[in-house]
Amino acid sequence: MIVAGCDFGTLAAKVVLMQDGSIIASEVSAIKAVPEKVSTELIYKGLSKAGLFADDVAFAVSTGWGKKRVPFANLNVTEMPCLARGAQWLIPSARTILDIGGQSCRAMNINEAGKIIKYSSNDKCAAGTGRFFELIAEALEVEVDDLIKLALQSKDPARISTQCCVFAESEVVTLVNEGREVSDIVAGVHDSTVLRLASILGMIQITPDIIVTGGCARNERLVQGLRDYFRVEIKTPSINPQFAGAIGAAIIAQEKIAETRPAELDDLKLLARITVPGVEVPAERSATLGS
């Protein structure tokens, strides 16, 4: 039985296909069109890589900013429970989760059952999110992925005093004009983000194991900064941490299937029945439908 989880975020859409509790395909893409189109194309891509067809998907759960606009989702679930389930699947001993996404940042405590006990989030301001790094990279005319390498080279990080992303962008330009090394500026940007994240983590109980998820969890310099700040061990999953929400959504989908009577399962196969304007239906699916 194959289930799908789709995490439609603000900057990236993620789809995970799972079978019996393991991942069989995962796809991520930047969002350059309406959610209906992006999400459907993404799942088709995942299916074709796994050699599967649209009507193999038994149940799909969507989450994230655009969750209500994922046309093949049988159920929408809010981000927090999906993240909690996903993080727990990634690292079962996780009790504190810090999720640093494209435009959001959340911290939560979960218990052994994966239930959220306490949480805090930043949803009013983009400081301390992936978008902040993107803007800085743009201003410095470097690739986002190079920021980490640059930051690790710095011996004397610059001080970034503004918190607003838009103002920080100007501040960074000023620092460049003052002749500061790009590596020092980038390190300063990481340090200021650590402070921002620390204030969000500070609102919950920091209990081990602590794990970081979301796209920014791949940023070693940022995670190291958090370790140094809190003087605790922080774990990062071995699977791309960006998929935590989508994995959680797929796990919830799996649970829903378990609750459904086998006779009703066929009625739930939504992906095989929908068409989305502007998305080409893969030939394989048409063949299955015809048979």
């Binding site: 603000t10 435009q103 004009n177």
Partner: protein
């Protein structure tokens, strides 16, 4: 009596030269990396336009965020006082000045002499500042000066709810994907902008007459939306609203000069 005012802000720099109480020339430029550089450049341009040199200026006051780094200024005064002073000189009945600049937004209450009574300011977050509009114009691929005129044609503006400029950018992008009319998106942006400014105005209260200064005052749609939200009619300036700060600095320069002359005169008498 020739005096000058120089306002070096976060995004633009302005210089105003006055002779015997009337403006003889002014210039506005986009800031250069260093405040000294911006100030020298804009002042040179204003002097050239007036056919003057630095030696003709009897007193110069600087203002704005780079005000302490202007070598040719004899004194510096905060931009809040300068905006109050400048606006009150243009429209003597003004009691509330809403200044929406490049990277800050202030609401200034003044008395009948232009003296500062109270103010509130947002300089921590780009929402409700010119930078917000610049950011949005970039996303839409239009010039910042087009956002106002385009929006006036809109019958059905989109709604933009985020305070954060970065989040608003995402909202705008989605409206673009939805193929909404440019005018509707532009109007939504201007409305969101006006709403942030309104929030600040409400904190200090409003007393008529009101005038709106700073670069954003040139956006007709933001001004109109703000007037509707506050249920007021703002007083229109007959000068460029972006030079009000530099004008205020000029007026302070004149006061300082008069004080100096009086003092010298007084000494002679004794």
């Amino acid at each position: 009596m020739i005096v000058a005012g120089c306002d070096v802000g976060s995004l633009s720099a302005e210089a105003v030269i006055m002779n015997n109480g009337s403006i003889v020339s002014y210039e506005i430029i986009r800031v250069r990396p260093r405040p000294e550089q911006s100030a020298a450049e804009v002042m040179n341009m204003a002097l050239a336009k007036a056919g003057m040199t630095y030696d003709d200026i009897e007193y110069c006051v600087s203002t704005g965020y780079g005000r302490e780094r202007i070598p040719f200024a004899q004194g510096n005064i905060s931009e809040i006082s300068c905006h109050g002073k400048g606006a009150q000189w243009c429209i003597p009945s003004v009691r509330t000045v809403i200044d929406v600049g490049g990277q800050d937004c202030k609401v200034i209450k003044v008395d009948e002499t232009g003296k500062l009574l109270n103010f509130v300011m947002n300089d921590k977050c780009a929402s409700g500042t010119g930078r917000f509009l610049e950011f949005m114009a970039k996303v839409l691929g239009v010039g910042i000066e087009d956002l106002g005129p385009k929006a006036l044609e809109s019958p059905t503006p989109v709604s933009i709810t985020s305070v954060c400029s970065v989040y608003a950018e995402t909202e705008v992008l989605y409206w673009v994907y939805e193929e909404k009319e440019l005018s509707d998106i532009a109007c939504g942006i201007n409305r969101a902008m006006a709403d942030r400014v309104k929030g600040l105005v409400k904190r200090v209260g409003i007393e008529e007459n009101v005038c709106i200064t700073g670069g954003v005052a040139k956006n007709v749609s933001v001004v109109k939306n703000l007037e509707d939200m506050l249920q007021i009619q703002s007083q229109k300036l007959d000068i460029d609203p972006q030079i009000v700060g530099a004008l205020g600095a000029c007026l302070f320069a004149k006061e300082k000069l008069l004080k100096q002359e009086n003092k010298q005169f007084g000494e002679k008498v004794v």
